[in-house]
Amino acid sequence: MPGSAEHRLVLQSRFDEVARAEAAVLELAEQHGYDATAQFAIKLSMEEAITNAIKHGNQMDPAKSVTVTYSVTENLARITVCDQGGGFTPNGVPDPTLDENLEKPHGRGIMLIKAYMTEASYSDCGRCLTMIKQRDCRLPEQA
């Protein structure tokens, strides 16, 4: 089955690069039969992760790149986004769903990733984010 291997894309620190990475992963997800809800979740999470990497990680520095490593199997999509910035402390980001933050226009990216992916974990001092989308199990039909 195509797509089970690990792939790698190196993106420039520009927002118009995000769609290229999303399209590559979603093509594999489509091939493996991920439904529209799962594909929306993957796209939204990649959008937020790569945007953060470009904007907050690399500070839009054209000399820095974002590396996206991904694999998609029938049951699981794994995507790692790494930037070349100074790193950050994910736990220091305020919860945008608290009453006092609800009307703030920024700060929802990480929350959305956590809400839409099965797992999301940071490494390399916050420079890398690995996201996993577990596909809903398809049980064998009863005889």
Binding site: V18, L44, E103, P105, Y116
Partner: protein, 112 residues
């Protein structure tokens, strides 16, 4: 990826804006530009028709929050209508559904 477009339509009670395609982070600032003339005219009610909006990301959400804030400074209202289940779910998960009144269709939203 579907191109993001905004087409506005003036009605008696306000403006209906039809958002189509992907409101991704690259094109989110289009929202601010599209509504700048509407805000200058101090339109009291803006309804966003989301029925053909396929995707929305965080920066676009932030633009909608800012638009709502700008409208409120002179007593205006921002309403949403016709969001598909995926887009509606984003508003629910972020709790922004509590800030934006959501209607089934734009005609209902503009008239009530």
């Amino acid at each position: 990826m579907s191109a993001f477009t905004i087409d506005t339509e003036t009605r008696d009670k306000g403006v209906i804006a039809h958002l189509k395609g992907d409101a991704n982070n690259q094109h989110a600032t289009d929202i601010r530009e599209a509504f700048s003339p509407v805000l200058q005219e101090r339109v009291l009610r803006i309804v966003l028709d989301l029925s053909e909006l396929e995707f929305i990301a965080s920066i676009a959400l932030g633009e909608l929050i800012s638009l709502r804030h700008d409208l409120q400074t002179y007593g205006g209202q921002l309403r949403l209508a016709g969001a598909n289940p995926h887009v509606e779910d984003v508003f629910k998960k972020t709790r922004l559904a509590e800030l934006f009144p959501m209607f089934k269709d734009p005609d209902e939203a503009i008239s009530i």
